[in-house]
Symmetry: C2
Subunit: 186 residues, 2 copies
């Protein structure tokens, strides 16, 4: 039994349900089935737990997307696979997705160093730059393009979650919306 992971799992569930400050550390420990003090053995403060959870989830998500999008033949296919992988991950990990969005829109985000954020974005920026050089996508600033792509991903995901479509319809919508996105940036 990895008590650290049990704590992270419990924290995730409770943070999404009650919010960061609406969730006492005592409740997290109880939900995880460990003693109160154990939480502070693994995380010096509650803030550190929140940030650690964010970093953990982010790295799992990036890993998944990267793993699924590598080895595509064309530029379009690579972008498309990334889009698809992001959405399928979000659909399969809704708690994680909601936590990340909550975190990103909270003052906690300030605790993530700008350099760290930039580093995690670099692979995507590099790829978009390549697409611009090869005249496949519009010559707009890469951070603008990235913003457009990720906000659409977020939007479609919200839409899929609030309507509980069957798998086939989901797939269709994801595919269609990618073509709309592609039309926008090329």
């Amino acid at each position: 039994m990895d008590k650290k992971q049990l704590l992270l799992d419990a924290a995730l569930k409770l943070f999404v349900e009650y919010g960061f400050h609406g969730t006492p550390t005592s409740l997290i420990a109880k939900e995880a089935g460990v003693a109160n003090g154990t939480l502070f053995h693994y995380f010096k403060t509650k803030d550190e737990l929140v940030v650690a959870l964010y970093v953990d989830i982010k790295s799992r998500m990036s890993g998944y997307v990267f793993e699924h999008a590598k080895g595509q033949a064309t530029f379009k296919d690579t972008i498309k696979e990334q889009y698809l992988a992001s959405l399928y991950w979000a659909l399969d990990n809704q708690l994680q997705f909601r936590f990340v969005e909550q975190f990103k829109n909270s003052p906690y985000l300030a605790q993530i160093a700008p350099l760290e954020i930039e580093a995690s974005l670099k692979p995507f920026y590099d790829m978009l730059n390549k697409g611009i050089k090869e005249k496949i996508i519009k010559p707009q600033p890469v951070d603008l393009l990235f913003t457009l792509i990720s906000s659409q991903t977020y939007g479609i995901n919200q839409y899929l979650i609030s309507n509980n479509f069957p798998k086939a319809k989901q797939h269709q919508l994801i595919s269609d919306s990618f073509e709309m996105l592609w039309a926008m940036i090329t």
Copy 2:
């Protein structure tokens, strides 16, 4: 001096800086320059204050967008003016915008009745339906179209805020991104 408004203003500023639960009611009262008890005279609980602030800001924003987008000649112009007005409002009211996003991604959102949300969305849905009937925009579900439009609006706003462009460049980007959006939905 309207102390209720002073409290709402103080709460807005502090919530954006420290988060909902990171802001004690005592600090809100102090920042507003009123006594502790006065806060509870106007708002029965802290939660009620948070929700009241959200409703207040939302209605101001809708009012502004509606006011600026009415009386346009064509369907495209109407949509465009709404897009522009939303972005200009967000740029001029960044605290409000950030608060709304924080609220939307928090468990507080559950305290807003679904019927209320639907009612506030209806005018937009009606308009989009009109556009579909007249074969101007793609025959996709209106809630999907709305999601695409609003998530792009959110994304562009994030981009404009994080890069501090001169007014002219801002205007250019907003205009360009609208054309990209229009290309996507027509």
